[in-house]
Subunit: 192 residues, 2 copies
């Protein structure tokens, strides 16, 4: 890996941390720079603007989770039940959410306070992820792994809320994704 790529990555990592902690407007290019062991001007060798850094952090925060979930679902054997597939998806979401907590939390915490132009460019990705889960849940319900009378739109929002909120209360490094996923799955999908 090239040195410049590593530096770019280091800037993104520290930026994600700052954005999570201080918000979009509260994060100063200077803070990012010093946390990454450089001066503010050097940042501009890698990025055009603070906005560009922010947007890339947002994008990564969602993409890593989406990719991990898709991969986990694809890796479940065909003969495994839909309930187990949901469990795998939830565990992957939780696991990635916390492994890259600065990115995903920067995304979740700041999205609603992001300038509209940036929000709009991120919407396609967001919608795709929502749609992916909608399909997962629909198939699971059709297979009887989720109560037939459950309102899937609501269920999905409850699920997102419960999962994403873990970023606000699970202590850093204390995440037990498998256990948490199991409990959440049992709580929300009690179909039998």
């Amino acid at each position: 890996m090239l040195k410049s790529d590593r530096t770019r990555r280091r800037i993104l990592d520290t930026a994600a941390q700052e954005f999570r902690q201080r918000g979009y407007a509260g994060t100063k290019v200077n803070d990012i720079a010093f946390a990454a062991n450089m001066r503010a001007a050097s940042i501009y060798y890698y990025f055009e603007s603070k906005d560009q850094i922010f947007e890339e952090v947002l994008e990564i925060g969602l993409r890593l989770v989406f990719e991990a979930v898709r991969k986990a679902v694809d890796a479940t054997p065909p003969d495994v039940g839909h309930r187990a597939r949901l469990l795998a998806a939830i565990e992957a979401h939780l696991s990635m959410l916390h492994e890259y907590g600065d990115y995903s939390s920067a995304n979740i915490r700041n999205f609603g306070q992001t300038p509209v132009e940036i929000q709009q460019r991120q919407m396609a990705q967001r919608n795709a992820y929502g749609e992916y889960w909608r399909e997962l849940l629909t198939e699971a319900q059709q297979a009887g792994a989720v109560r037939a009378d459950a309102n899937l739109s609501l269920l999905r929002m409850f699920l997102f809320g419960a999962m994403n909120w873990t970023l606000e209360w699970v202590k850093p490094g204390k995440m037990n994704s498998a256990e948490l996923a199991k409990q959440l799955c049992d709580t929300l999908f009690h179909a039998e």
Copy 2:
């Protein structure tokens, strides 16, 4: 009501809206002032600093919800089941959350990005609210209204997550607290 009290209130209302929309650091005193039909300097006749406004918005955002929930619970007749009491609490939380959406969302969205001194002063109130729910759930479980094997700490966090997340997806003015509360209650507390 005194005129100056009304003005103070108007400043808080518009400030809450700005803090929700643009975050703690992204909200300018000037923006608050113009949205409240005055100049920035006039704000300082009512508040010592932007931080003071912010802190008061945070406090109101949580207090209104806490008070509404306590009141709703106290209003349930003694002979009503614990499950119905939980339902009343959830509906009150959701209802207040959205009725004063700018305040509560300003609180929820920005708390994690708030300067530590401010966070610390808000912790007592936060903890009290959490404790209140812990007791509600404990009593409900003891009465058999919640599965005996449920982990109440987790359940409470799932519940908070699901409820608070509604601020991010329920369209303004479209909140049907009663229906949403019922669905959430059924989903999370399926004890029988």
